[in-house]
């Protein structure tokens, strides 16, 4: 089951799982690895989703501020939900709840 919102956002199961963690922690930044670990979404689905949500300004992102040569690891790329994203996500979830009953999500 998926639902198309606005222009390019399709709320598939993985998209809903991803949005859930952003909505539950609107001030927190997550790396792709963290999102994958919490949601169980594979990289092949996750990174196209992140790119699409960022393009639609539901998410914003930044690079971790470290010196990779000092830390001896690549920089993480962090994602955070925007105000616009929160509004759109809540609206979408409300519509889904209206259509299909309560999903058991806290908003």
């Amino acid at each position: 089951m998926s639902r198309k919102l606005n222009s390019n956002i399709r709320l598939s199961g993985p998209a809903l799982r991803m949005l859930k963690i952003f909505i539950e922690h609107p001030m927190k930044e997550f790396s792709g690895a963290e999102i994958a670990k919490v949601t169980g979404i594979g990289s092949g689905t996750l990174y196209p989703l992140l790119a699409r949500f960022e393009q639609e300004r539901w998410l914003t992102s930044r690079w971790e501020k470290i010196d990779p040569s000092e830390e001896k690891r690549p920089r993480r790329h962090y994602y955070k939900i925007t105000g616009h994203g929160q509004n759109c996500a809540r609206q979408a979830l409300t519509e889904l709840q209206t259509d299909f009953g309560a999903l058991g999500w806290k908003s």
Binding site: S43, G44, A51, P74
Partner: protein
């Protein structure tokens, strides 16, 4: 386990090369960072194959093409990684066997197959196994001989026995590595 890590790195590097040039440096760092946070070689390979899937989808999108139904990556020293994206990456194992039979190169292609299966066996849930079964069932009517029966180590098996034979074979190979 070193072999799995090596395969994962090669697949990840090839995935980055498939990306459009203007996105390569960003995703190279992001995907390598994700890779670095994983400790299990199976999870690393699963991540690398996911990145390959993402890269092929991105490339197709930029060229105005529909999302690809599958992809194939040549991995020097290992063979080829071939995947059916519509049915999940794990179907690669079955494709690998079919190709191996066709080309009579069981060992080299199967090397990729067992590496991949080891990456996904523990990640596969009930629903995914059902999906794979359905996919294989859908292949049967189109079988061109490859899927109807096959020989493995001198014994002839029916198509229906393929999953058990594969699981036996791949588990045995993984144990050799452990």
């Amino acid at each position: 386990m070193e072999k799995l890590n090596s395969l994962a790195i090669r697949v990840l590097n090839q995935a980055i090369e498939v990306l459009p040039r203007n996105q390569q440096s960003r995703y190279a760092e992001e995907w390598r960072s994700h890779y670095a946070e994983l400790t299990n070689p199976g999870e690393r390979l699963h991540h690398a194959l996911g990145c390959a899937s993402c890269a092929f989808k991105t490339q197709a999108g930029l060229n105005g093409l529909p999302e690809p139904a599958g992809f194939r990556i040549e991995v020097p020293g290992f063979g080829a990684v071939e995947s059916d994206l519509t049915s999940g990456l794990r179907v690669m194992v079955f494709h690998a066997l079919a190709i191996a039979q066709r080309d009579s190169k069981f060992s080299s292609v199967a090397q990729v197959g067992w590496s991949y299966l080891s990456a996904t066996m523990h990640l596969m849930n009930e629903k995914e196994r059902d999906r794979m079964d359905n996919y294989l069932a859908s292949l049967q009517p189109q079988a061109n001989g490859v899927f109807l029966d096959f020989h493995f180590e001198g014994i002839k098996y029916s198509y229906g026995e393929l999953p058990e034979v594969l699981e036996y074979y791949f588990r045995r190979e993984i144990e050799k590595l452990a």
